[in-house]
């Protein structure tokens, strides 16, 4: 019942930008403890001055400024970041279509993509914008998005995505991962990947199941790592492979990053389901090595059958980031687009039910930023930080994570819109 023509530019005008003061915003200021028990989160109303995309001043008391926005006592939180999503390739904005049971293997899916992508590309720029709109409605203004690079799309999926991002530049930013969805060698994608790697806007060299798709772990990872090194990019590889091949892939990437320390802190494995099936001893070894190599894990937080050992990874110091992945496409139709919902899912899945644990879970929605330190000191917002924030109808972070309340306003680089 929907067509692309029904998607319009429906973004509200900016409520504020440039230099302004936000008054009556609720900030978290500490934890209330009773003995050893953390009872609640302390909050107070503040004023926040924004200038040139940054937070200039945070204070309580009188406001003497011409341009004042009333924050209406809403809680101010860092804007959300979706760290794994495919904005370029979605069915969002097209008539409803469920996944098919006929396409069972990755090769079935590649064949299907080869068939549908030419059609999807015709409207992908507009629908990418619509998807960003959905995400913004839930408070997300930044994404790490993968974009397809394979012989069917060529550079077109990237180009359409860039067009959409350009249109959304006041309210949304992204980092881009060149994603050889159809394999480097299974389809002839190596040269296309080399071309994509040279593009300045591309931040990461992607990959997918070196064994599962190309049937060769080392050759594919060597190619990926070399491309990242040559072009000074990061790495973010989709790894769904389980068992020995999955684990071999993780260890080989750890080895390569060890040999090329410039990749440390810039290398990620998305999904990495194999970690969900390891016994404690091997998992501990892998987690320690991932930490040492500064390789992060990006997860969409699966819960059907396989559960990722996120608490163990965190305990060992592995960087864990979260994203929606598929929102509505031919892979999955279940994504909400809501990062707060992901944080809630994690809290429920991993039993983070206390005020403290819930408050810490917020970082999975914000890409790591938390208003309060673990000790309960105010660390955000503070002068000099980016003015990427949102206002939410909640009394504290813990409530926001647990209840997934409505996001009332979102600001990107200081550009504020009421939602």
């Amino acid at each position: 019942m929907s067509t692309i023509s029904q998607i319009r530019d429906q973004f509200e005008p900016l409520s504020a930008s440039g230099h302004y003061v936000l008054k009556n915003v609720l900030l978290e200021t500490g934890f209330n403890k009773e003995g050893d028990t953390l009872e609640s989160t302390r909050t107070a109303l503040y004023n926040v001055e924004i200038e040139a995309g940054h937070i200039k001043r945070v204070w309580q008391g009188n406001v003497n400024a011409a341009d004042v926005i009333d924050g209406k006592n809403y809680l101010m939180l860092p804007a959300f970041k979706d760290m794994h999503v495919h904005i370029d390739k979605t069915l969002y904005g097209l008539p409803w279509q469920a996944a098919s049971a006929r396409r069972r293997t990755i090769y079935d899916m590649i064949a299907y993509e080869q068939q549908i992508i030419p059609e999807l590309l015709k409207t992908s720029a507009k629908r990418a914008e619509a998807l960003m709109g959905l995400m913004q409605g839930y408070g997300t203004s930044f994404a790490r998005t993968h974009f397809n690079v394979e012989p069917t799309s060529g550079m077109q999926s990237l180009e359409n995505l860039q067009l959409a991002l350009e249109n959304q530049r006041d309210c949304f930013d992204a980092e881009l991962v060149a994603f050889p969805q159809h394999g480097i060698y299974y389809t002839d994608s190596a040269d296309l990947m080399k071309e994509a790697a040279k593009i300045k806007a591309v931040d990461f060299i992607g990959g997918v199941d070196p064994y599962g798709v190309d049937k060769t772990i080392e050759k594919v990872l060597d190619f990926t790592v070399d491309l990242a090194l040559e072009n000074n990019k990061g790495i973010d590889i989709h790894l769904h492979d389980m068992g020995k091949e999955g684990l071999d892939t993780v260890y080989y990437l750890i080895k390569k990053v060890g040999e090329n320390p410039q990749l440390k802190g810039r290398t990620y494995i998305s999904h990495c389901y194999v970690l969900g099936r390891l016994d404690t001893k091997i998992l501990t070894d892998v987690a320690e090595k991932l930490t040492e190599a500064k390789i992060g894990i990006v997860s969409s937080i699966p819960f059907a059958g396989l559960v990722m050992p996120v608490p163990t990874l965190i305990r060992h110091g592995v960087e864990v980031m979260v994203g929606n992945d598929n929102i509505q496409d031919h892979w999955s139709t279940f994504g909400s687009g809501n990062m707060l919902q992901k944080a809630q899912l994690m809290a429920e899945l991993y039993g983070w039910t206390s005020e403290y644990d819930l408050s810490r879970a917020l970082r999975f929605a914000t890409g790591g930023i938390l208003p309060l330190t673990d000790a309960g000191a105010l660390s955000w917002p503070a002068a000099g930080k980016k003015a990427d924030y949102l206002l939410v109808n909640a009394s504290c972070s813990a409530e926001a994570v647990s209840r997934v309340p409505k996001v009332m306003a979102l600001a990107h680089k200081g550009n504020l819109r009421w939602l």
Binding site: Q6, Q10, A16, W96, A99, A130
Partner: protein, 460 residues
Amino acid sequence: MIKNNNNQSDRPQGLSRKTFLKNTAWTLIGSVMTPTLLKAEKGRAMPADNRSGMEKEIGSANRTLLKNVRLETGFEYDQLEVVSTKTALFCIALEGGKIVAVLPNNPGADAIDAQGLLMLPSFKDMHIHLDKTFYGDKWQAIRRGPGGIKGMIALEQKILPDMLKNSTYKAEKLIELLQSKGSGYARSHVNIEPTSQLNSLKHLQIALENKKSTFGAELVAFPQHGVYYTASAPYMREAAQSGIDYIGGVDPFSIDGAIEKTMDFTIGLALEFNKGIDIHLHESSQSGLKTVEYLINKVHENQVLKGRTFLSHCFCLGRLDSERQAEMAAKLSDAGIGIVSTIPFGGLVMPIPTLLKHNVKVMTGNDSIVDHWNTFGSGSVLQKAHLAAQLYGRKTEFDLSRMLALATAGIMPLDDKGRQVWPVPGDAADFVLIDASCSAEAVARISTVKSLYHNGNPVF
């Protein structure tokens, strides 16, 4: 620089950005339905605040007509696979709380305009505690103390007197939340124990009375603190005679220390007062399974309980191997005992597909929305159906469409063969209008409920 006032009422009329963002492609631009729009339309819609005279007023002369109502009419097949769901627009006539006619669409009719939204049976939350919630009150995270279930009972003894002070108000707020998510009906457990005595029930009954034209409920007398661990038996007897529908229970072994004595009391009370049974069973060990088997035997001995007996949670089924799960499912089916599950995930997963395969009645509910047990409840059973679809890998058009039964406590527009079975004249006029093209989409996307009708009354 401030470019415009952020006062929302100053914003231009029309499709708000929020609506656009949430519904993007399924909402026809410029045709967003609002409750006021609905009520302002011609037809027999009543103002929401004038419901008291409604039941009398809707008589044979008072027919409500809706037009441009989207109904599912069948499945589209490609060979054997259902590839999409066929829909068409209809007029629907309501009268006396019933759907009285399903007519060909007439866009020019003097009728309430459903604007192409999909009509589905309204949702039912079949396990919730409306009487005992923090909802509508100040946020507080749970503070799980020591002592397991008995620690929780001690906590309740401490906090319930305070919670009861405004429990009618909070129950009404919670009902409004459920309604906003498309539920017009709930099976609510009600604490019956020496601390609350019958007050939790009485307070909830006031709330339900206040909401009666827009919300229905059946009540379970729930001895949260054990029948014998605290002296609740006399209160349970009194409750059984005070407008409740089911005799409840909770973990007979771990709370009361004996399966048979508590179960015999529960079953005896149900039989004596002609009530159903709905027992919370969290025990996942041997005692849980023994309780299930004891109940199955008792229901066979007392056939009147068949189809009226339910086990809520019943986690012990999730701990069995698949062969034993199938065996238990067959036994439950045979005894007509239903399972009510919140669809747990992560640590324990319920064998819901196996239960359904054996025709066990499976229903779902939110249980806690926000209280001292759990703070994660959304209030949406459509979200529960979505969760089940994801958890059990039900992602195709057909499989997604079947999951709707969890949200509606069994009713689906199309049967498994794709024949239209709802709505038909005589069905209760309990339905939602939802921003989706079909059931499968509604389940996968947790589509927005735009309107709810209960007993023929527009709720919003």
